[in-house]
Every structure is written in structure tokens, then in C-alpha cells.
């Protein structure tokens, strides 16, 4: 999910015999489900892939604050306001946990954030869509967090220790987000006015396909997945995860009394899964490449915040140094 356009640098997965002694030892550790820690030897490709993936995951959390931040000042009740504020705060926290894990690999947070602002790295495509009505706050929690959770639960078992531990911490905090999102929609569908119900359906119509796109291209379009799977940076394929998500979500959708904008969505008894329509891959790649509805605004907001905050961070540093100087002089 966060590995969109990440290059592992490997043309194909090496067999154990083809590997150097260090590579083999490393791969055997992974095969045995032993966690790799920061100080362990690791192939350069492993390290780079992880930095890219974790940083994109972290960027996603931080940029992900913005679509919800768009409605936090307009939350309609005290309870909803508090819930949304807590959710946004969690997202900031998740970003920080992930940057922290990324830094254990020798990446510099400032540099990685610069890359984000320069458009050189990606973040989850879903956050390039606008939040246009209050029901979107429910839908984002239910579908977007829901999709993220499907991916994250699996990532708890990723091979790199700090990333795995960050995922465990994040998953613990994430479950209430999805439930709250769903609750918003359920309350509106059960006790809302006609206008509110239409708000919900409109919201689902706009976020359904983008949520499915969060899982990335289909497996046959993901050449780098094989190496990531061998290194257990990735544990399940895009299509597998997407199917898991759809299977768990459709009953929830039906319970709401809403529909998905997909005429081909139907239960397939033989497969034991839901069939669904073809994803508009053109839209997916457009958004990924920067031509989504909100790409420009999202990045600008982040860039302005960090660039505009330079004097603040500088002042804090200057003050810290002065204080340290005072202490040393007094000693």
C-alpha cells in the first residue's frame, strides 16, 4: 500500500545458492521469522526499500491529517468534534512513530520530508481526494482506515523489528477509528433526515473506488512485489488484501442500507468471495503521478507548514544553546 512505485532494485529474487554468505544468513533469518534489527547486516536493497516504504507510510499519516482537518472546525457536535480531534492526533502520532522507525535505518527525517515536498516520493493516493461533506468523516474512518487496517494488521509481522513494533502500536490505536467512522454513518442512516442519508450515499459513491485503489496495482502489474515478499517487507499481495477488504466491507455496506457505485459487485458462491468491477487504473496512475484533485493543495499545505516553521525551529535551537551555555558558565 505504501510501496507504490518503490523499486527494490532487484531484477529477480536470488536463490539461496546464488547469494553471498551474508545475504544467505540474512535470508535464512527472515525465513525463520527472526526479526531484523537496526544494527544487523542487511542488503542495501532491503534497507533502501524499507526506507522508501516506511517514509511513504509516514508521509501518508501526516498528509492524511489534512482531509480530516478540513472538517474538524465544522464538526457538528461536541462528541463528534472530540472524536475527530483524537483521531487526527493519533494520525500525527502514527506518522511520528513511523519516521522514528525509518530513522533507525540511517534516513534523515528532514531529507525525506523534503523529497515529499518536491514530489519525489509518494503517499497513499487516497488523501488526494477532497472531503466534501460531513459524512466523509464517517466514510474516511470506515473505508479508508478500514483498508489501511487490512494492510497494517498483516504488516505487524513484517521482518524489520522497528517497523513491526511501530505497526503493532499503530494497530492497537487504529481499531477505534474505523468503528467510530462506521458509527457516524450508521447513526445518520438510522436516525438521519433524508438529506443526511443522501449525504452518506454521496460520500460512499465518491470514496468507494479510491479506497479499493489504496491497495495498489493488481499483482500482475506489480513487478517489485516478489522481492519485497521474499524479504517479508510485504506479506500478502495487493489483490489478496483488496479481496479481504471487499469481503469484509460489503456486509457492512449492506447493513448501512447503502450501495456501492459498482454494478458488478456480487457474491460469487463458487469462489467464496465477492466479485467486483474493473478498477479505473488510469485514474489510479493519474492521481499517483500528481494529477489528483488535491495533490497540489496537500503538498503545498505541508510545505508551507514546514518551510514557514523554520524560524520557529531555529529559535528553539538558539534558545537551547543559550541555556546550555548559561549552565556551562555557571558550572
Amino acid at each position: 500500500m505504501y510501496a507504490q512505485l518503490v523499486e527494490t532494485g532487484a531484477k529477480r529474487v536470488k536463490s539461496l545458492e546464488e547469494m553471498s554468505p551474508e545475504e544467505r544468513e540474512f535470508q535464512l533469518k527472515i525465513d525463520a521469522e527472526t526479526k531484523i534489527e537496526a544494527k544487523n547486516w542487511m542488503p542495501e536493497g532491503y534497507r533502501k526499500t524499507l526506507i522508501r516504504q516506511i517514509s511513504q507510510h509516514a508521509h501518508s499519516e501526516v498528509v492524511g491529517m489534512l482531509p480530516e482537518g478540513n472538517w474538524v472546525t465544522r464538526a457538528p457536535t461536541l462528541k463528534r468534534k472530540l472524536q475527530l480531534m483524537a483521531k487526527i492526533q493519533d494520525e500525527a502520532g502514527h506518522g511520528l512513530y513511523l519516521y522514528s522507525a525509518m530513522e533507525t535505518l540511517g534516513a534523515d527525517r528532514d531529507e525525506e520530508i523534503d523529497k515529499l515536498h518536491e514530489g519525489k516520493v509518494k503517499y497513499s493516493s487516497i488523501f488526494n481526494y477532497p472531503t466534501l461533506n460531513w459524512a466523509d468523516m464517517g466514510t474516511v474512518g470506515w473505508l479508508v482506515d478500514g483498508a489501511a487496517i487490512v494492510n497494517q494488521v498483516v504488516l505487524q509481522r513484517t521482518s524489520y523489528g522497528p517497523y513491526s513494533r511501530a505497526m503493532i502500536r499503530i494497530c492497537k490505536e487504529e481499531s477505534f477509528h474505523q468503528r467510530q467512522g462506521y458509527q457516524i454513518l450508521l447513526d445518520l442512516m438510522r436516525e438521519g433526515t433524508e438529506e443526511q442519508k443522501q449525504m452518506v450515499q454521496d460520500s460512499i459513491n465518491r470514496f468507494w473506488w479510491p479506497s479499493l485503489m489504496m491497495f495498489g496495482p493488481s499483482d500482475d502489474q506489480s513487478p517489485n512485489s516478489q522481492q519485497s515478499m521474499a524479504w517479508k517487507i510485504k506479506r500478502k499481495s495487493n489483490d489478496e488484501l483488496r479481496q479481504m477488504f471487499i469481503d469484509q466491507t460489503v456486509p457492512q455496506l449492506e447493513f448501512l442500507g447503502c450501495t456501492a457505485p459498482d454494478p458488478d459487485l456480487k457474491w460469487n458462491e463458487e469462489r467464496g468471495h465477492y466479485d467486483f468491477g474493473e478498477i479505473d487504473w488510469q485514474e489510479f496512475y493519474d492521481v499517483l503521478k500528481g494529477n489528483g484533485p488535491c495533490n497540489k493543495e496537500r503538498i503545498e499545505t505541508r510545505k508551507n507548514a514546514i518551510d514557514g516553521g523554520a524560524w520557529v525551529r531555529e529559535a528553539a535551537r538558539a534558545y537551547a544553546e543559550k541555556q546550555q551555555q548559561k549552565q556551562q558558565n555557571a558550572a
Binding site: 522514528s100 533507525t104 534523515d108 528532514d110 511501530a166 528553539a316
Partner: protein, 93 residues
């Protein structure tokens, strides 16, 4: 952040006896690190003890027999780019 150094965070929860390493924060000084660590790793838990230590102050053992490639500062806790300067020939890392 280049101008805010890294601190490692150790937390002792209510029910535990030992401080556990939970991650890191960037901060301008130790006081800010403490507050940032509280905000990030403990929210509003009572009776929690937090230690913050500048990452550069920690000495760590090397788990591998062989020296870690491309890492002259073998005793630093992470491969933090901000801790050491690589020779130019090594290339971008």
C-alpha cells in the same frame, strides 16, 4: 530534523518495573524532548516515568560478529545519518 537532535525515549508504564525503549523524538532540548515524548508515547497516562536520552549519548553493542558495512561509527545506536560523515567515495546513502 537537522536542527532538532534525536532523543531516545524509555517509558515505564504503571504496571511494569523496567523502562522500555519505545522509540525516539526530535526536540530542541531535553525539556522539550520530555514533553514531546509524553505527548507521543504516553498521552495522558498517570504514574508513568519517562526517560529521554540524546541518541548520541547511547553506546550500543554490535550484534553481528562481522563489522557492519559502510558504518565507521560502529558503536552508535542506529545508522543515523546525522551522526557521522561518510567518505564521498561511498556514494549517497
Amino acid at each position: 530534523m537537522a536542527d532538532w537532535p534525536l532523543y531516545e525515549v524509555f517509558v515505564r508504564s504503571k504496571h511494569g518495573l523496567n523502562h522500555k525503549h519505545v522509540g525516539s523524538v526530535h526536540a530542541a532540548d531535553a525539556e522539550m524532548a520530555m514533553e514531546n515524548a509524553r505527548d507521543l508515547y504516553t498521552r495522558r497516562s498517570e504514574g508513568v516515568s519517562i526517560w529521554v536520552v540524546p541518541s548520541s549519548a547511547i553506546t550500543a553493542s554490535s550484534p553481528d560478529e562481522k563489522e557492519i558495512l559502510f558504518d565507521p561509527s560502529d558503536d552508535k545506536v542506529y545508522r543515523h545519518a546525522s551522526f557521522y560523515k561518510l567518505p564521498d567515495e561511498v556514494g549517497h546513502m
